[in-house]
Each structure stands twice: as structure tokens, then as C-alpha cells.
Amino acid sequence: MTTAQVVDLVAAVRDPELRVVTIGELGIVRDVAVRDDRVTVTITPTYSGCPAMDMIRSDIEAALHAAGFAEVAVDTVLSPAWSTDWISEPGRRKLAEAGIAPPAAGGHRPVSLSLTVRCPRCGSPDTEELSRFGSTACKSLRRCRACLEPFDAVKTL
């Protein structure tokens, strides 16, 4: 197996909380180093207290063990801090298709006006925030005023 294939294998692990995207699309895989049958994967958390990190770690280990790698280590780095800007275009599209509004661009820059979040179902820009904190640390809860559907939105970070 080439290094590129191992990278693809790791990147294809699904996020346990946002099942429609992979950790590659989420932008949390920082490095994959292969030496003989030993693989060291470096990931970064989305939020400091993200409870999915342990599961992501074990999912990466399981995927690599299944591919025949005996020794697998998963390290965590904090810097530079993850930003929602790192979610790839395919990742954003998949979130929207699953009814989860993708984050606005430019989480690291101050935005002087509040940008609208479009309803992932009907596309209307007429939506309101119900709660800044949603079902997981990385999401908020919103409702569409046009089609009345409530929906999750990934918070810009």
C-alpha cells in the first residue's frame, strides 16, 4: 500500500457525529506518516471538549488495523487551531444535502454584519436562530421562516 493510499484510507473515516462527512472532508487530519508497518496519524480537535475525539481515534486505529498495519498511533495537535474554513467544498455540499447548513466562510476574521444562514432544505435566506448551541458542540439550532423546518447549522469557528 502506498502512502497516498494510506492517507486516503485515514481520510475516509467517518465523523461519528456528522456521519455524512469524512474526517478528511472535515479537515481534522493533519498528518499521516508511514514507516514499514507502523502508521502515525496526527489529528486536531474541532472543539477542545469534543466528545467524538476518542471514537475518531479508535475508528482510525480500526481502519488501519483492518488494512494490515500492526502498529498505529494517533497523536493530537492543537496548533494551528481548527477552523470551519478547513471543511472542504465536497464536505460542505454533503452537509447541506443532509439538511445541515454548512458554516459561513472566514471564521477567523471578524465579520461586521451578520450573514444569513440559508435553509438547507428550501434554500430560503429567511431563517432564524433558535439556539446558539445545538445537538453537538459544533452546531447551532435554526428554523426556516419560509418552510418552517428546524435544522442544524455548523457554527463558524
Binding site: 471538549g49 492543537l78 433558535l130 448551541f133 458542540a137 469557528l157
Partner: protein, 234 residues
């Protein structure tokens, strides 16, 4: 030079705040708020874990996150007294959260640009989350302060009750953060039609291990399982 005790203080602030916020789980005024407070608690706990791990390395005696959280007595905790105070009503909790998170954001901002790379990385992560905590608590303080006569009365009374404990946040090296902190708080108070309490009594001692009875009660609940069943996992 960052000392072990400084990192431990920040870690303890975050851990004890997380434990207090977690007490609202299933008891908040509305379901969305229940989720919000649990999420904020989770952010604080995440920062606490990273800071404990670093504190353990600085100390060099092999103490783990769990050792710090579960196997210390009250006199060994270095958190400010503000975070250990009982939750009180919702307004008291929001006043505490606003005062703490506005301080944490300023402090993390400074540490993120500091020379200690490890602390800078933790702070750069945590400050983004702090911004959400400030935003959330500010909105509630404004909503309650500029609400009905009753909500205004209770918000002002919550602010008055915990104000003395905010002085301790700015002892020592963080003294110069009080001015920008006050500017932030005054802005929220103005919108919330609240009056900033006069400075007077300023309880202190948390950073030296002197705490209120409230911390002992909190620790009893937080540590009981680990102490009854050392090393238990599930």
C-alpha cells in the same frame, strides 16, 4: 516563564466552572438552554483537560488529569472563588458566566500570543470557544436586565451578589486585564439597563487554596465515585 501553579489555576477555573454549569443539565429554564449550558460546560472541561495534562508535565511527578481532578482536597485547588459559588438562580449563573468568560477570553487572547508555545496552542483553541460563551451570557444578561421589572430585579441582584468575587480574577499578572474587562462588562450593563456595583469587599484566597464551603460540597459530589472505586473505568 510559566509556572506550574499558574497553569493549574487556569485548569481549576475551567474544571470547577464546568462542574457548576453541568449541574444545570435537565434543570435549565428551557430545553435549548439545557443544551447550551451543557455545551459550554463541555468546552470548559475540554480546556481543563488540556491544561491539566500540561500542568502534570510541568510538575514532573507523573500526575494525570484524573489525579488532579479527583484526588486533591479543597486546599489544593487553585481556582478563583467566583467559579465555585453555588449556582443560585439562573440570573446568578449568567452573571458568573459573563464575568468568567469575558476574563477568560482576554486571558486566552494574551496567552495565545505568548512565548510558551504549548499554552499558546491551548489558548488559541479555547479563545474561539470563549467568544461564544461571552456572546451567550451577554445576550441573557441583556434579555433579563432589559426585560420585565421582575427579571431586571433578579438580574441586578445576581450581579450584585457575585461582583465582589470578580476582583480576584485580576490579582497578580492579570491586573492589567481589568480595564478592558470592565469596558466589555460596562457595554453589556448599559444595554441591559443594569448598574455596575460599587467596588468594596473583595474576597480572595482561591489562588492560594483558600476556598468557600461551596467548593467542598462540589468536590464531594464530583469526586465521590472515583474515591469510592479508585481507578474505576466504564
Amino acid at each position: 516563564m510559566i509556572r506550574f501553579g499558574d497553569v493549574l489555576g487556569l485548569a481549576d477555573d475551567a474544571l470547577i466552572a464546568a462542574q457548576r454549569l453541568g449541574e444545570w443539565c435537565s434543570r435549565a429554564p428551557e430545553m435549548e438552554e439545557d443544551i447550551a449550558l451543557a455545551n459550554i460546560a463541555l468546552d470548559q472541561l475540554g480546556a481543563a483537560r488540556l491544561l491539566f495534562a500540561y500542568a502534570g508535565e510541568l510538575e514532573g511527578h507523573g500526575r494525570s488529569e484524573d489525579d488532579f481532578a479527583f484526588l486533591r482536597g479543597d486546599r489544593e485547588f487553585r481556582n478563583v472563588q467566583l467559579v465555585e459559588l453555588a449556582n443560585g438562580d439562573f440570573a446568578v449563573t449568567m452573571a458568573k458566566l459573563l464575568f468568567l468568560s469575558a476574563y477568560q477570553r482576554l486571558l486566552y487572547d494574551r496567552l495565545a500570543g505568548g512565548t510558551d508555545e504549548r499554552l499558546a496552542a491551548i489558548a488559541a483553541k479555547a479563545r474561539k470557544e470563549s467568544a461564544y460563551h461571552v456572546d451567550h451570557s451577554s445576550r441573557w444578561v441583556v434579555r433579563l436586565g432589559d426585560g420585565t421589572d421582575e427579571s431586571h430585579r433578579r438580574m441586578q441582584s445576581g450581579v450584585d451578589a457575585v461582583w465582589p468575587y470578580t476582583h480576584e480574577l485580576f490579582e497578580g499578572s492579570s491586573a492589567d486585564l481589568r480595564e478592558p474587562w470592565l469596558a466589555e462588562i460596562d457595554k453589556v450593563f448599559a444595554e441591559a439597563t443594569l448598574t455596575r456595583p460599587a467596588d468594596g469587599w473583595a474576597p480572595t484566597g482561591g489562588r492560594r487554596g483558600l476556598h468557600t464551603e461551596a467548593l467542598s460540597r462540589l468536590l464531594a459530589e464530583m469526586q465521590v465515585l472515583h474515591r469510592a472505586h479508585p481507578g474505576a473505568t466504564w
